[in-house]
């Protein structure tokens, strides 16, 4: 893509599903993957005569987010009805916020290589989610699942401060890390716990006003956010350079074809006819309540990273890697609680374990490998009880089957033989079987040394310490 001196201007609207036990306005449980319409009460169905009752947990989770990004917090929270018709919107309106959003102006710092940039957050407000329309279940009908209807969303709206797809992804990753560290969302984009719309426009550097923007919908992974924005910037630049105009519209990202296409224009846009929700009274938020939340905020990724660099002498990169999310950070600290060296712990987690997680497209909390496993593997290496290759083999076994490290070492015969006499017996055997080569080695053909070590390793199924074999071989040669 050639920017050709065009400047992209991007703002993101991120919907984060909060990790409350029940829905925003009903006591229905929230769980992903339940049978359709089994987690929808009369309130979620929008039956005649039902009334919403605000879930206080959602307020406190939104406050945590507000405090974490140092935002202004509204003294009172007012909900509003956003009116539009859609089959998966049971009441014909969504209870959302317009004026007095719970979280006001704040900011989030993102890292771009060595540099960092402050991205403004305009607001974050609470709203209920809609249900799901399913169009591919029946041939002539659409189906509706209202399990998701009424779940708590925090919509985080950024200023148009982002200037590239890369920045947008970094910003989104930062929000992901903040909400997961705060424990207010599982942040799982694949299950829709985090969804993102992007407002994209381009302008020339001298232009005082922003260009006409388009809103991209349905970009629900970090990868798609990047691709959709790149595509859209490119599309807009090409159009403008041909002298055409950008139409203000909503565009849908098609991840299969990697393109965006028009969904509705500004003229077709809904007039949501917002008005204050008469079924809910305004909620007051006291200074004490805010201070209380602030005092009890969990350690945020930046601060944790600093601490790791200082206390465990990790490099910037390594500290960044183990604080990528809350689960990894706690995993790391738990490994350390077994008194292994931080450097080894980082290497094992971000090296072999991350490789397995990536290969299997899963996350650390779902894997069979636990911090105790990693710590014991490291300890066994440090004590020279197992060899490097054996350690890797062990990790793969616990990855797929779980189990106890000590038992597995026994069972798989991975214990390293460091007893000199025992290894010497194996070495003698190898020498007697390979007299000719041994003579050659003796006469100075040094590269045969590896051959002998290899043969001993083979005979001991890798459990001999290569250092000891080398030492003994040298002794024999010097005799």
């Amino acid at each position: 893509m050639s920017l050709n001196n065009w400047q992209p201007v991007i703002g993101l609207e991120v919907h984060v599903q909060l990790a409350t036990k029940t829905k925003l306005f009903s006591s229905s449980p929230i769980a992903f993957g339940a049978e359709p319409n089994t987690q929808a009460s009369e309130i979620d169905l929008g039956l005649p005569g039902v009334l919403p009752v605000l879930n206080k947990e959602a307020i406190s989770q939104a406050l945590k987010f507000g405090c974490a990004i140092n935002a202004e917090i509204s003294e009172k929270v007012i909900f509003a009805r956003k009116n539009y018709f859609y089959p998966d919107l049971p009441k014909g309106y969504q209870i959302s916020q317009l004026d007095d959003p719970i979280v006001g102006k704040g900011s989030i710092e993102i890292k771009l290589g060595e540099k960092s940039k402050i991205i403004g957050v305009t607001r974050a407000h609470l709203e209920e989610d809609a249900g799901k329309s399913i169009h591919d279940l029946y041939s002539n009908n659409s189906a509706i699942d209202l399990n998701r209807a009424g779940t708590c969303l925090l919509e985080i709206v950024s200023e148009p401060d982002l200037s590239s797809a890369e920045e947008a992804v970094e910003y989104l990753k930062k929000i992901h890390s903040i909400v997961t560290f705060l424990g207010i969302s599982d942040g799982d984009m694949s299950q829709g716990s985090m969804r993102c719309d992007a407002n994209v426009s381009v302008k020339k550097p001298d232009d005082q006003e922003l260009g006409t923007r388009t809103e991209l919908k349905n970009i629900n992974s970090f990868k798609f956010v990047e691709k959709a924005i790149i595509f859209e910037i490119d599309r807009q630049i090409k159009k403008l350079e041909k002298g055409e105009e950008i139409i203000q519209e909503t565009r849908l990202y098609d991840s299969k074809k990697n393109l965006t296409r028009s969904m509705r224009s500004k003229e077709e846009a809904n007039d949501y006819r917002y008005f204050p929700e008469p079924d809910l009274i305004p909620i007051k938020i006291s200074k004490d309540q805010i201070n209380d939340v602030r005092k009890n905020l969990p350690e945020l990724p930046e601060i944790m990273k600093e601490r790791f660099m200082k206390s465990y002498e990790l490099s910037d990169d390594n500290a960044e890697l183990v604080t990528i999310n809350k689960e990894t950070a706690s995993f790391f600290e738990e490994v350390l609680s077994y008194k292994v060296s931080p450097k080894n712990a980082v290497n094992w987690i971000t090296g072999d374990l991350f490789a397995l997680l990536n290969k299997n497209d899963t996350n650390i909390s779902e894997s069979k490998v636990n911090p105790k496993h990693i710590s014991e593997i490291i300890q066994n290496i440090e004590d020279q009880k197992i060899s490097g290759p054996s350690a890797k083999k062990l990790l793969e076994i616990v990855w797929s089957e779980g189990g106890e490290i000590q038992e597995l070492i026994q069972k798989e015969g991975l214990e390293q033989i460091s007893n000199d006499d025992e290894i010497e017996r194996f070495l003698d055997e190898v020498i007697s079987e390979n007299q000719k080569q041994f003579e050659q080695l003796k006469s100075g053909k040094d590269r045969l040394q590896g051959f002998f070590v290899g043969q001993v390793m083979k005979k001991t199924s890798g459990s001999a310490s290569p250092q000891v074999v080398n030492k003994l071989l040298k002794d024999k040669l010097s005799k």
């Binding site: 169905l45 005649p48 005569g49 018709f85 007039d271 006819r273 008005f275 809910l280």
Partner: protein
């Protein structure tokens, strides 16, 4: 047994308690009368067998000295209150097939108090109307003169009480829907303070104005019934968490009254008979020792326009859920989603409901919100302050309930003329104040009502004053 149905609630409770008669007898008598007067069209559903069964249980409870406060008393509910497993139509074709899977708090409370639900009363569609002519189930006839309207929207409840078809009936009042039909039928109707009775399970028309109340033979009966219906409900966020006073005691207490009469009110009553009877009622109370004071309510003249913006605005959102998707009427002639919405709603709603949805949608539209909705909210606040100011000087405020007695069915076709029926009743809804109507005379040989408005949560005071009036007069007696 017909004399049993003429008894006041107080006497019925006493008679059942000392076993002068049984619930089986009184329930049977009411069911007979309902059958006899079917042509009045007071009921949309009658639960004959179930009522008879419940009467037997009530008699057992009484025999075992386990009688609850309203044990065995046959009552009726306006068909706006959801009752589990019962058809709840709200007077609309839209809900003519709706069987509610849950019960309203109003029903549950009276059911728990031991009352027997004989059936559900007819009403204007979605409580929108002042003559009961908008009901999908046809209009109700005024039992005093069957050519005339019983008033609306709670016309079925008022007519049922007047025709001795139940001991008392529940009703709702958004702009006068309890008081105006009470006035037309010569019965007593009270709309308590907004938030005094839970709205859970009461089908919404205009959420910030809707309030459930009672239509009964007299103030004493209304006080008893209201006592068992009132109270805080967690399921309704606008419900008031305030102690329920013993209205039964308060209605008979020795209280002093200062009655406020708005400046210019009397001169502006156009109907001579209404004006004279109002003056007569005031002088009766004054002779009895009440003090009369002139008060200033400078903004109530804007009540009607403010109401006819706020109520339709809220109704336009409240009625959006009737989309033919999850429950209610669904059009047969559908070939697209748009069709499903448009045809289901076009067929399911009557003309008046559509009028109000249009008005409300318009008032909330972009560009009109400030001119209409916001301005109406400002007027509403001014009216509230007017009342706050007035109640510093007086303990209740008197006005006529309606500017006329009942009119002939079909005689009013201009909607605005119909809306003017509510001119005296709307201010109490806008301010959220308790207000009642008691029979105070006649105009054109039909009853007219005296309206008493009380301060917040002072239902007891206006009931006490009404009871005083009824001790001195016989306007409330059915002749």
């Amino acid at each position: 047994m017909s004399e049993l149905i003429n008894l006041s609630l107080t006497d019925q409770v006493l008679g059942l308690g000392d076993k002068s008669f049984s619930s089986k007898e009184i329930t049977g008598a009411y069911l007979n009368e309902i059958k006899k007067k079917e042509s009045l069209n007071c009921f949309i559903s009658v639960f004959e067998e179930e009522s008879e069964e419940k009467a037997l249980i009530a008699d057992e409870n009484i025999a075992k000295n386990k009688a609850r406060p309203l044990e065995g008393i046959p009552i009726a509910h306006k068909d706006i209150f959801c009752i589990k497993d019962k058809k709840t139509t709200c007077g609309s074709k839209m809900l003519s097939n709706f069987i509610s899977p849950y019960s309203s708090e109003v029903f549950s409370k009276l059911d728990t108090a031991g009352a027997i639900t004989l059936g559900k009363t007819n009403m204007d569609e979605f409580a929108m109307g002042s003559s009961n002519e908008t009901s999908f189930y046809g209009n109700v006839l005024n039992p005093i003169n069957e050519k005339l309207s019983p008033g609306g929207s709670s016309g079925g409840s008022a007519a049922a009480v007047r025709a001795n078809l139940c001991s008392f009936a529940t009703a709702t009042d958004t702009g006068g829907s309890i008081r105006q039909p009470a006035s037309f039928c010569g019965v007593t109707g009270i709309k308590p303070t907004y938030g005094r009775v839970s709205r859970w399970g009461m089908i919404a028309f205009a959420s910030s104005l809707d309030q459930a109340g009672i239509i009964a033979k007299n103030a004493k009966d209304a006080a008893i019934a209201l006592k068992y219906m009132s109270g805080f409900d967690q399921k309704d966020s606008t419900s008031l968490n305030e102690e329920v006073k013993d209205l039964q005691k308060e209605v008979d207490a020795d209280q002093e009254h200062v009655i406020g009469i708005p400046k210019g009110l009397i001169e502006n009553i156009k109907n001579d008979q209404v004006r004279d009877s109002f003056k007569n009622a005031i002088s009766i109370l004054e002779k009895d020792g009440a003090k009369i004071k002139e008060i200033n309510l400078p903004h109530i003249e804007y009540s009607l326009p403010a109401y006819y913006v706020i109520a339709p605005a809220e109704c336009s959102a409240n009625l959006a859920r009737y989309d033919g998707i999850r429950f209610g009427h669904r059009s047969e002639s559908v070939s697209s989603l748009e069709d499903l919405y448009v045809n289901s709603r076009t067929e399911g709603f009557g003309k008046e409901v559509k009028n109000r949805i249009f008005i409300g949608t318009f008032c909330l539209s972009a560009g009109y919100y400030d001119a209409f909705y916001n301005k109406a909210l400002k007027i509403r606040n001014l009216i509230k302050s007017d009342f706050d100011e007035a109640f510093k000087k007086v303990s209740s405020i008197a006005m006529p309930t309606c500017s006329n007695s009942s009119f002939e069915l079909g005689s009013i076709s201009d909607p605005v003329e119909m809306y003017e029926q509510d001119i005296y009743t709307i201010p109490a809804n806008l301010a959220g104040l308790p207000a009642l109507s008691i029979p105070s005379g006649t105009a054109d040989e039909m009853p007219i009502g005296l309206q008493l408005i009380g301060n917040y949560l002072e239902e007891g005071r206006i009931l006490n004053l009404a009871n005083k009036f009824q001790k001195l007069t016989d306007f409330h007696e059915f002749k």
